[in-house]
Amino acid sequence: MLGQIIYALPFLAEGFALTLWVSFLVVLFSLMAGVILGVGLVYGPVPLRWAVRIFSDTIRGIPILVLIFFVYYGLPAIGLHLPSFWAAVTALTLFKTAQVVEYLRGAVGSIPRGQTEAAMAIGLTFRQQLTSVIFPQAFRRFLPPWINGVTDAVKGSALVSLLGITDLMQAINQVIGRTYEAMPLYILGALIYFAVNYTLSLASRRLERRFTFIRE
């Protein structure tokens, strides 16, 4: 079994890199979009709040796989042809963005109103209130669910193999196609995904501990 695993490793390297690349892009884009939309949901004018609310609820109500197929096979109907890689990244990003919006809303909502008022009272602008007072405090609450979401993104990225993209999952399947040794390869795949996510969890716990000094 070890022999088969060692044989497979070089074939998986490229797929693994692609898995990390997809995960990274999805996490990065969804963080940016989610924070912006989340701020819109909490502080924006009513129409914007509604728009974000509808976006978030709709996306979160759709299975991620449906979303991927919709973006790749559905959007060409309205003239939007995305290559499989970007279709997958787009779909996963949409899905994650809706989650980040909720994490942000929860984290910012947990900060007492008095904090904003105190920040306003010393003359901070809205942007300064967010960056100097609200976000530093909300960060501690945002981090645990968000890291969880990052590990979800890594796991969820396996779905891109369904669009024929050679990520780690697809690479594993290709090796199995040649060797007909499913069990060792799937165990290997599971170990790799686990190693990535466990590392993330450890990093998260470290970060959390660094921010526990903030008490009310």
């Binding site: 009272a121 010393i122 602008t125 809205f126 405090q137 008490r215």
Partner: protein
């Protein structure tokens, strides 16, 4: 210096301010002038609009009609009576001219005592970190917390937190300081240290409007007392007139009677 023949304009000029929360009228045509260096305390039963009035002065709350001017400048709305709200940056700049101390302290828990004071100095006043730090240390010394500069709020007692709250507000050198029931959340034995700080500021000539339930303090430290009832100014005058037992203001008499019964 200009001649003093004219009346000195009030530093704070509240005129006919009214405000409703839905169907509840919380402020009814409130007018109040506060001169430079004056200490005005606002008393009254809960729900009488004291805190709302204070929050309107730095525009944490908007109001439906009337005007509030500090040093001649309209606070929340653009000049010209259009009742068009000031822009966000403009409002922030206006608010920096008024200091506010809150009942629940509202210190920033992620920043040290000095950090709480330095935030406005660096971000709003544009001071360097070193300069801000030395101002923070000066004010922490003034409120008797020079040794706590690097403590987080959670490491301080309520009275100490509130003194940092006061230092944070005055370090910005506001034109007027608003104090909203600043001792109400404190254990009784911690009230004295906070009021002592306020007394010191009054002696320094800081203009203050203070909502309080501390009648003894209102009597001793304020130049005038405003008694509010049902969203309006029911009585206003020097402490000895307002707190006199034989006032003919029915509302005031019953408020004071109830107050004496429960507090003495």
């Amino acid at each position: 210096m200009a001649t003093n023949t004219q009346e000195i304009p009030a530093l704070l000029d509240v005129r006919d301010v009214s405000k409703a929360f839905g169907t509840v009228q919380v402020l009814r045509s409130v007018s109040l002038k506060v001169s430079r260096g004056e200490v005005v305390t606002v008393i009254g039963p809960s729900g009488s609009g004291k805190t709302t009035l204070l929050r309107c002065v730095n525009f944490l709350e908007s109001y439906d009609s009337g005007s509030i001017r500090i040093d001649g400048k309209e606070v929340g709305f653009r000049e010209g009576g259009s009742r068009q709200r000031r822009g966000e940056r403009d409002l922030a700049a206006m608010r920096a001219e008024t200091g506010m101390v809150f009942q629940s302290f509202n210190l920033f828990p992620h920043l040290t005592a000095a950090g709480n004071i330095m935030l406005g100095l660096t971000k709003v006043r544009g001071k360097s970190t070193a300069e801000a730090r030395s101002i923070a240390e000066h004010w922490l010394g003034r409120v008797g917390l020079g040794h706590k500069a690097d403590s987080l709020p959670a490491e301080l007692s309520g009275g100490q937190q509130q003194r940092v709250g006061i230092a944070r507000a005055v370090a910005m050198e506001p034109k007027i300081l608003l104090l909203d029931e600043i001792t109400s959340a404190l254990d009784p034995e911690l009230v004295g240290e906070v009021l002592e700080v306020v007394r010191g500021l009054a002696q320094d000539g800081m203009t203050m409007v203070m909502v309080t339930h501390e009648m003894a303090f209102a009597r001793d430290a304020s130049s005038r007392i405003v008694f509010m009832a049902d969203g309006g100014v029911s009585a206003i005058g020097p402490p000895r007139d307002i707190l006199a037992a034989e006032t003919d203001n029915e509302r005031l008499r019953s408020f004071l009677a109830r107050f004496r019964a429960s507090h003495f």
